[in-house]
Amino acid sequence: MRAKKLGWVLFFLLPSAIPLVAFTLVPMVSSLWVSLHKWNLISPMQWVGLDNYTNLLTDPTTRQVFLHTLVYVVGYLPLVYAGGLALALVLNQRLKGRAFLRATYFLPVVTSWVVVALVWKWLLNPANGLVNQILGFFGVPGPGWWTDPHWALPAVILSSAWKDLGFVMVILLAGLQSIPSDVYEAALVDGANAWQRFWRITLPLLSPSTFFVVVISLINGFQVFDQVYVMTGGGPSGSSQVVVGHIYDLTFRYGRAGEASALSWILFAVILLITVLQVRGQRKWVHYA
């Protein structure tokens, strides 16, 4: 009887447990191990203890790639949230062609990051890209975008926001639809105007969805890589290099796998810390109905 019960447990759990152990848990542990060594992927590993961590924490490049990642997140999040919220508010009303409009805004979400990055690299081409052509038509000299150290990150932020706008819109739309309409009716009876209804009802009751968007965007934002790799390759001269791009370069360009592993754990710690702080802090501003 007992053996039979155990048999069922194994039957249902092993199909997921085996791959998770083999391709997540084992690499996780060995990554910690690698991070304590000096290793170029070829010659034998050399124990260095916590040196990789201390070296990284004092290395100006580390500070720089974290700063760029932070700039990316800080530029991207308000853009997609404000845009997504505005869209959700408008498309939550009864409008002609509402389903079509929603579907259109969501289309870039299903397009891969690499395609989005390539298409925008072309649109933002300094010489003959569409955006600079349009700017030129209005007499505005277009910037060098991904060829200019000051404009490379903004170019990445712009294309990322374009891609994710629809995702945020869909999440916030679902949140808006879960707000009971009698709350609005009561507010109307009390004479609240549209502005008051937005600030006093919509935003507070939307806070669980907002929380979800912020948590997910920060987790994904700190792991940004694809679009940077394709659009700028971290350049020009490192001006748009982000943490994951640096991890990739450390491993496969410079053969410093130990430091790369250590940096990936530092990034993990940062993401974990930010997420925990948000979950802690949500009590102050997230209202669950």
Binding site: K5, W8, F11, F12, L13, P15, S16, A17, P19, L20, F23, T24, V26, P27, M28, S30, S31, V90, K96, L101, A103, T104, Y105, F106, L107, P108, V109, V110, T111, S112, W113, V114, V115, L118, V119, W122, N128, L130, Q133, W162, L165, V170, I171, A174, F212, Q223, D226, Y229, V230, V244, I247, Y248, T251, F252, A257, S264, L267, F268, I271, L272
Partner: protein, 267 residues
């Protein structure tokens, strides 16, 4: 009047969303010679030369099929492994259940970048570099899927199982005939995320795949821009090839995809 302005703004925004796709197609049929000062909205002498160059440069059809196969396989695997684990955690009683579930959740928190280097070494040691298996391996099971599906299975009333047990049904029958049909919305959500995750995946293929025969679209496309730095029509032709299949799938399943994504936000 205000309503009309809002409506106009939303429609204009939709045009901004769609225009890059149109521009991609236009660029891909613009001949090399007309690229220098940028393509025009109306292409005077459209050509498929860029697509020919693309076909010569890489086995693009095979790469397209690779992407589809891997995405379908990874979706199928995640649905099977995920729903089974979900049933195990929601319906079976065994020692250390919460600890084991905690371990599942822990793998959810670890970002791919932490795993990429050792996973690469693992594949290299097992001589599995440049194989379909290597592409598929990290996506056979996903803790995210297990978590989402467990919530769904828990929401299925236990009385249904009990009634079936009295009728003599075992776990396998309860799982396949009662639980699975009732958790279909959650399965759809997991399927959408699994498919999109695999279809868009870039870092892992970039690390583990070298030969063009095993590349997926994102990887193939990224190598394209290195080869054709100034021939944007070829790069855009590749982009068109990779947008069309996903756009068709999206058009067919649009409602389910959006519902699936919205589902995660409510929880």
């Amino acid at each position: 009047m205000r309503r009309f302005c809002l409506y106009a703004a939303v429609v204009a925004g939709a045009a901004v969303m769609l225009f890059p796709f149109l521009w991609t197609v236009i660029t891909s049929i613009t001949p090399d010679g007309s690229l220098a000062d940028g393509p025009k909205l109306i292409v005077h002498n459209p050509t498929v030369d860029a697509y020919r160059t693309l076909l010569d440069a890489m086995p693009i059809w095979r790469i397209l099929v690779n992407s589809l196969l891997i995405a379908i396989a990874s979706t199928g695997f995640q649905l099977i492994t995920g729903s089974m684990a979900a049933y195990g955690f929601a319906r079976l009683h065994f020692p250390l259940k919460n600890v084991i579930f905690g371990c599942y959740l822990a793998t959810l928190m670890v970002p791919l970048q932490v795993l990429v280097v050792p996973l690469f070494i693992e594949m290299k040691t097992l001589n599995l570099q440049d194989t379909y298996f290597a592409l598929l391996a990290p996506t056979i099971a996903s803790a995210f899927g297990v978590f989402l599906l467990r919530q769904a299975v828990s929401a299925v009333p236990a009385e249904l199982d009990e009634a079936a047990t009295i009728d003599g049904a075992g776990h396998l029958r309860i799982f396949t005939t009662i639980v699975l049909p009732l958790i279909r919305p959650a399965l759809a959500t997991v399927a959408v995320f699994a498919f999109m995750g695999s279809w868009n995946s870039f870092l892992w293929p970039l690390v583990v795949i070298r030969s063009p025969e095993f590349m997926t679209l994102p990887l193939g496309l990224s190598t394209l821009q290195g080869q054709f730095t100034t021939q944007w029509n070829v790069v855009m032709a590749g982009s068109v090839v990779s947008i069309v299949p996903i756009a068709v799938i999206y058009l067919l399943a649009q409602r389910h995809i959006i519902a699936g994504v919205a589902h995660t936000g409510i929880k």
